[in-house]
Amino acid sequence: MSNEISKEKAEMIFKEHSNYIYRVALFLTKSKELADDITQETFIQVFRKYYTFNPSKPIQPWLYKVTLNITRNMLRKQKWLKFIGQLPEKSCLNLVENTVFKTEEENELWREISTLHYKSREMVILHFYSGMKLKEISDSLGIPLGTCKSRLNSALSTLRGRLPENDFEFLNKGGDTFETL
């Protein structure tokens, strides 16, 4: 195939994005093993389907689209495995055991973010961590822009409700990428 990805190009994409992909998967699944599986599966698919990618566009939304699809499929499989008793219940991984937050407010904010619902966490990680614009998120998730706005709004409302004493700027104004809300 003429548009097949070269090894050099593949390695470049892998080096640049694999840790970000891994961290998004880790944040969504709270499992290191699953996050590794998702990262590997994502790149295998990306390399295989690279010929469908339009190089004139940014690669990030496409990468996340693949990642999010694989993550959802993996989580669905995990639910089945749990259902049929092939997977023991695991306690959630503590992602921040080696992290020192500057303030108690940051610590509290992290705690609340990490307990948001899956769809809210998807929005928060893509928008505030990966820096994606809402239009890009809407493309990656395959949902309308309005739904994206509503999901992000709902996530922030939840955080506002849970953190009434904290005066985080993003809760009042939104982050610097919070451009269209």
Partner: protein
């Protein structure tokens, strides 16, 4: 990739910065080249197989039952057996012939089959749940009771125990036909040796049948049987609730009340006629309700099936469901 510099972005960055993936590019690239996905772990493999088997059984059970049902040879010639002629009353229902002990009822529930009367011509009258004797759809020949419609041949054994004569009759229900289970035995005690060939069934339901012909374009046309259901409301186009063969296979509803019926035995222009909302049998003196309904763009006819269970036993009729094909 540039992270956001908002508070929330900073918190996320701090929380996740210590975490890195542990896979190598080389291994991922090689897997891509070999077009060989990550090996499925044995536990996952077992789970996938188990799920596939569960899905297979869930989806395929009805079709499987229909295809893999037991079919006995039923075309035996009639051979007389003078021992069997007469009336027999059920006394027990046992797993094995040897389980029966006279005077002790091992079956704790009510016996469905109450009695049988074997006639000299190979016919059988039956009584269900203490009802009256009525003509049944089964015949007999020496050592066998034959149900041509259900395609079962049940063997019987006659034994004398403590001076009484007992028949041990294999009961080939749906458990045998569709689930391949070993049949249980009805134990019947002989009460007389009379010939019931001329027995007058005590109860026969007769409907009003002198209805005038009223044309109905909805009913006219060719119809093909797709199901047999207890009630009209229980029919679901995508699910077949009747696991056996459908005896009535089709109807051709023609002009001026003419009706051609097709069954598994072939086509016949019978004594049936039709009028708006009804099929009338002059021979059996029954008037069956017929309702045409459109479901998902397809016309279905629900035809009240008034068999001997209705005329002779007074049971509530069920419905043939027929799909319009022409």
């Amino acid at each position: 990739m540039k992270p956001s510099n908002s508070d929330i972005g900073i918190v996320l960055e701090k929380a996740l910065e210590h975490h890195s993936q542990s896979i190598s590019f080389e291994s991922t690239w090689n897997m891509h080249l070999n077009n060989n996905r990550k090996t499925i772990k044995p536990k996952k493999q077992t789970a996938i197989i188990l799920v596939a088997v569960l899905i297979f059984f869930a989806i395929g059970s009805v079709a499987f039952a229909g295809i893999m049902r037991n079919i006995d040879k039923t075309d035996y010639p009639f051979v007389n057996d003078p021992r069997v002629i007469g009336k027999w009353e059920s006394v027990d229902f046992v797993e094995k012939v040897d389980d029966f002990v006279p005077g002790i009822i091992s079956w704790k529930e009510k016996l469905y089959l109450s009695s049988l009367a074997f006639t000299k011509q190979g016919k059988i009258l039956s009584s269900i749940e203490n009802g009256n004797l009525a003509i049944s759809a089964v015949n007999w020949t020496k050592d066998k009771v034959l149900n041509i419609q259900e395609k079962t041949a049940s063997e019987y054994v006659i034994k004398k125990v403590n001076g009484s004569t007992y028949m041990y009759l294999e009961w080939k229900s749906g458990d045998y036909i569709f689930r391949n289970m070993k049949p249980y035995y009805y134990v019947l005690k002989k009460v007389d040796s009379n010939d019931y060939s001329n027995y007058q069934v005590a109860h026969k339901t007769e409907d009003k049948i002198d209805y005038p012909f009223i044309d109905d374009t909805q009913m006219k046309g060719k119809w093909e049987s797709v199901d047999f259901v207890k009630t009209i409301a229980s029919f679901k186009p995508e699910v077949s609730s009747w696991m056996g063969d459908l005896y009535l296979t089709g109807l051709a509803v023609e002009e001026n009340g003419k009706l051609t019926v097709t069954t598994t035995k072939g086509e016949s222009s019978s004594s049936l006629i039709w009028t708006k909302g009804m099929i009338i049998s002059r021979g059996n003196k029954t008037a069956s309700k017929c309702e045409v309904k459109e479901i998902n763009g397809t016309a279905y006819m629900f035809y009240e099936w008034k068999s001997g269970d209705y005329t002779n036993r007074g049971m509530t009729p069920e419905y043939y469901v027929l799909k319009k094909i022409e």
